[in-house]
Each structure stands twice: as structure tokens, then as C-alpha cells.
Symmetry: C2
Subunit: 423 residues, 2 copies
Amino acid sequence: MKDAFALHGAVAFSGSQERIETFEDAYVVCEDGISMGVFRDLPKKYGHIPVEELDGMLITPGFVDLHTHAPQYNFRGQDMDMELIDWLNRCSYPEEEKYADPLYAERSYDLFAEELYEGPTSRACVFATRDVPSTIRLMEMMEEAGLVSYVGKVCMDRNVPEGCLEDTDRALEETEEWIAQTQDRFENTYPILTPRFVPACSRKLLAGLGKLSEKYHVPVQSHLSENPKETEWVKKLEPQASFYGDVYERCGLFGTPMPAVMAHCVYSSEEEIRLMKKNGVFVAHCPDSNMNLSSGIAPIRRYLQEGIPTGLGSDVAAGSSTSIMKAAVEAIQLSKMRWRIQDQTRKPLTFEEAFYMATKGGGAFFGKAGSLEEGYEFDAVVFDDSNLATMTETDTKGRLERMLYCGDDRNVCSKYIRGRKIY
Amino acid sequence: MKDAFALHGAVAFSGSQERIETFEDAYVVCEDGISMGVFRDLPKKYGHIPVEELDGMLITPGFVDLHTHAPQYNFRGQDMDMELIDWLNRCSYPEEEKYADPLYAERSYDLFAEELYEGPTSRACVFATRDVPSTIRLMEMMEEAGLVSYVGKVCMDRNVPEGCLEDTDRALEETEEWIAQTQDRFENTYPILTPRFVPACSRKLLAGLGKLSEKYHVPVQSHLSENPKETEWVKKLEPQASFYGDVYERCGLFGTPMPAVMAHCVYSSEEEIRLMKKNGVFVAHCPDSNMNLSSGIAPIRRYLQEGIPTGLGSDVAAGSSTSIMKAAVEAIQLSKMRWRIQDQTRKPLTFEEAFYMATKGGGAFFGKAGSLEEGYEFDAVVFDDSNLATMTETDTKGRLERMLYCGDDRNVCSKYIRGRKIY
């Protein structure tokens, strides 16, 4: 038992989609970065490990952000009255061009990494830009911040402005070199193949990325069926594809051979959903973004029922906040609106389901992560919720729900990732 | 010029529904509690008034909360997976009963008043409980907090649990006594007649309150057409009424003779909308609540187009936050979902419109409030947004939008209400 310790306080984690396990007073034991489980009384064999007393605190798993854009952090909360394609052209692309400047990238990514460091997120899938040097710098910063993350050099060779556009062969060469440089370099930071989305990627580029994915065993992240205008555009650009995701599928980028996480999936067709299920494609549900860009409401209840692996994404800066606690609340709220207005056949999401997606659901993309159960990698957040307390006494589940609805980064007291206290 | 001063910094206020007036560097002059306007250069006649230098700060009008429930603050962010009627029975009514205990009321209302004191809200319409002594205590606390507020002793004589139920005559007597005790007692705090909602109020009670409204010139607040089950219930309870608001109208509680503010108006019929327009009934749009209780999306674009006076409400605790900045963002987001899913004939709300509702729109219920234009009561919030700054420089409008999307009470540096610095 080389490196063991325990946290002692109130504990909550997601047992399953339907159930949150709570303990008013318990010990969470970590050994060599892995959870040994949660115990009402500390087992004898752990009798002499250090115990951090967290009286009055609430201990949860780390939160998982399955979809965010580091270079967009600069303009969050601004120019929000647009739809996706206009917003990309007017806000995202012009900003992303700036990351060819190392000093600009350094300063910007530092703000982003600092924000994730301080909040309750322990793991993230991050889009960078097409620029390799600044993408590597971002990976270094994420490593320093202590989070576990996949970071992607973005690839795009059509329908984007000159400053973002890449030559197809060069994009593939640069990506391969970048994988070689970063694949074994970090402890907690990994490259992920990142075609921007079908409208910005030729078949040749996608097929090349698919080959790199297989050759180097690198997973994939992209966007899928987000917005009506975007999906119409994909139909025009790729008339021979049966559906949006079929373009990724034909190029080996849709969950096989390597795992893939697709952001949004608001307008996935029956065929697309079938293939997502078959291939185990992860859905990154980004409710804040889907509202801000007027995209619509994704059928998340359906995905959960089908057993499609589903987590949450902040989608900064189409989402204005990096908080996955906020995303969990918005996922519930949007599902209620979907139920009320669009589809009364499927019930709204429950708090249990939203918390599951925010932790264990998204965590599954990283292996055994997002829970405090025995055998999971030990990512834990310690919350001080004393500023949210009122005259109404509440149990641990109530405190957890209140934390997600009313809390913020101020409540994060400390954070452990893979057993290491990083904050 | 007895009591004059100026604030000097970046300034933003709502000129109209369509337009936000911004100044990168200007002076807002206050004289005897009234704004003398915003000036790029300080006019000579104000040459020797004190100037508060707010370099780098953002000055806006105070935010206006047209609908909130003080006794519900205790259980905000908990048990949110319910619809309105279940939620009232299981959460609200049992909690509200506790306010008969003066000590419980004292401690609880203190938390609520402190929260409003520290945030960007300058004016509010507040529901208390049926209990008069604690309602008066809440009024004292709101007065101490420095906000301008209408506070209502709630009336309800049917379909509520024993602990909340009132005898009709006694409710009216108590209300009349309470008006007498409080109407002229405070500088910034006023009584407002507060029938809970039609399902909880007999015709006799409503008619009696209507008479009190006319006799004492006291305005009215209540709930209207919030949730499908509630509106169906009203139809059954009041079969002779043409529509929900018609019940209030027949009792003199629907904007005439005295002003009325009605929360929600999600399911207002054509007839109801016509009468709201005719009577100048204020709509308190509460997007957070409407999501949490699965109520639906109110047709706010329509209300603005019709010229129906419309502001925002936090509706704590069906809304989990007291922030009207958050309500403004959610109003935009929900309007985008309404446009996308429900009604493509009316465009989503713009940021300009949401900011208008959050300040000047709601402020109109209080007279000339919610703006920094000449002649308005001087309610101002000074924001320090340095923690939100990034590498992207932005103008005052961008800073304002970012403040509403990404800021919170931490950013409130100081607050002036009716010319008095209260924070």
C-alpha cells in the first residue's frame, strides 16, 4: 500500500443512471490513484493511512466535460444572438486564426487552463486550433493544471476562411507528426483526432485521419447533426452519404476502430442513432450551446434508453460557462421543454440522470472514471457548501442537487485527480 | 443642488427595447436621488460635485425582479423534478407554514434580504406568506437592505393545506390592518395585494382584495396561466369565467383600477392577452421557473410587440437563482427554443430586449426606474468585470453582454438606490 489516503465527509456519486449513492458520513479510500471504495467505517486494513477530515464538506467525483473549445474562451458570453454557421464565420474562425501567434496563444490558453484548474472539472475533451505549436503548448498547460484531457489539433480543409484553411496533405502530415510528438509525452494529456466537422473537411482529409486513428490508436472527436442549416449543408456537400454520421463512418471515424465522441446530436436520424448505438459512439450533450445558437433540443432521454454512452459538454464559447454542474441543470431544464413542447412520449431527464451524465456517463470515455466506486480512477471534488445553507436542513442528495443548481467554482475547496491533490 | 454626485466610468443602459446606449467613458449625475443624465464630459454646472472615479468599472441601472417568493429561498435548488401543483403541495406550502414562528421567519428572511442586498437587484416584487407579523418583519428587512420593494402578505382560502388556509373574512381583515400598518411606514417598502392564484382564492376573497386595492390605492401581484394542469384546474373551478385572467378582472385585480403584475403568462389566451394589453397588466416572465416546473415557454416576443409591459422575475424557489442577469440570459435562450420548436413566426429575443426587460421594462412597474436617463430614479450598479477579461478586447456593449452571461454577484462592486449608496 504505497500511496494511500482517505477523505472523510459526506459523499455522493452516481451508482447508475437511475440512482445516486449518498453517505452522510463516510470514508473514500484512494490507493495508488484508484478508489478502493466508500466505507461508513474505515476498514481496519486502512487503519494507519492518512485521513483528510472534511467535516461539513461534500465529496463527489470529478466532473467530465466531453466537449469544449479552448481558443473560444476569449469571447465567451458575447455576440450570442447568432446561429451556428454565422457564429463560426464571424466569431470563431477569426479568433482561432490568432493562435498562430505563440504569445497570443500562450496568454489565452493560460486563462483557459486556469479556469478549468479552479473549477470542478477533472477531465475534458478539448478542441485547440489547426496550429500545432500552440496546440502542444495547450497540452503542456493542461498537464500542468493536473486535469486528465484529450486535446485535439483541429483539421479543416474546406469552407473556412483562408487563415484557418489547411492543405489536405499538409494537415495529415502535421497531424501525424503531432501525434508522434505528444502521444507518449504526458502523464495525463493525450492527443485526439479532431476533424472540425463534415462541412469543413474533405473526404480525403477524413479518410486520412481515419487511417491515423487506426495506425496510432488515437480516439476521435467532432461535431454531429447540431443545427438545421448545418445538417442541410452536409446533405448538399455529401449527397452519397446516407446520413451525417455516415460520412465519419465511411472514413473510420465513427466509434470504430477507435472510440469517438460527437458533440450535439440534436438532429440525428434513426439510421444515425442505430449506428451510434452499434458503434458505441459517445454523445456530448451541450445544452447551453444548443440554446445559445438556437440549435434545438437533443433527444437525450432516447440516447440513455438506447444505451448510447452520453455525457455533457460545456462547448465554450457557444456555451458561455465551463461549468458541467450548470450543463447538468440545463440538460434537465431543456429535457423538460422538449417533453412539454416537442415529444410527450419521453419523460424529462431526472436529476439522477443528469448527474450521471456529468460524471460517470462522460467519464466512461476515459475508461473507469467519473465515480468513487471501487476500481475507478480517483477523481474527487471537495465542495464547501456552507454559503448555500439555509434554515432548511437537507440530506446529502439535497445538498448535491442544490450545489448543481446554485453553486459555482467558489464552492470548490479541493480537487483530486488520479489520486493527486491538484487544488 | 443639495445632494448631488457623479459616477465616472463606462456606462450602459437601455434606451428602448431595441437599443442599448453605451458610453466607454462618461459621467452619470445624480441629484436628490434622480438621474440628471449621462454626459461624455461633466457639464460646468456640476463642476464641483463629488465624482466617484470608477476607472475600468461598468455602470448599469439596477436590475428589477418582478416576481419572487422570500419564504421559498430556504429550499432553492432542491426537489426540482416536479410540476407546479405537486411542487406547491410538497415543497412550498409546508415550508410557508413555518413562518408563523417569528424566530424561524427572522432567520430565514435575513438570508433572503442579505442575498438581494449583495446582488445586482435594486427593486423587487416579493411574495411573503399569509402570516402578517413575519411579513412586516420582512418589510423591515427589505427597508434595511436599501432596496425598493413591494412586499405582499399572501392570501389563500381554498385548496391549500390547513397550515396555509385562511378564513376569508379574517384574511381580508388582516390584510386591511396590515395595509394600515405598513402603507406609510417605510421610505422604500410598500404593501402589495397578493392573492396567491385563482385555485387558492375564492371569488369572495378576490373581490374583497379588489375593494381594498381601490380603497387604499394598493397595487396587485399574482400568478397567471402558468402551467397546463393549473390552467385546466382554473377552468373547472371557475366555469363562468371566460379565461383565467377574467377571474381577476371581475374582482378589480387585473390592472385596473390599480396596476397589477402577473407572473408567467405562458398560456394566456387571445382574449386574456387583449385584456392584459388594454389594462396595461405587467407580465413577470420567469424563464428559470418555467423550465424547472416544466411549465413551457411564454410568448414574450408577442407581449413586447403588443406593447404589454414586460419584465423579468427570478421566481425563487421555482427559479433557483435570485439573479435577474441570469433570468435575462435564460429569457433569450428560451425564446430561441420557442422559435426553433414551437413558433417560427416570431423571432427570438435579442440581448437588447432581454436587458430592457431586466431593467427598464420591469422598472416601469415602480414608475421611472430601471434606466440612467435623465429624470429616472437613480438606481445604479457598479460592476468590476476584470475577472471576466480575456485577450479579446471588447466594447461596453460586449462587456455588458459578457457580464450577464458570465458574471455573478462577485462582480457587484457597489449599488446605489434612489441616489443612496447602499453597498
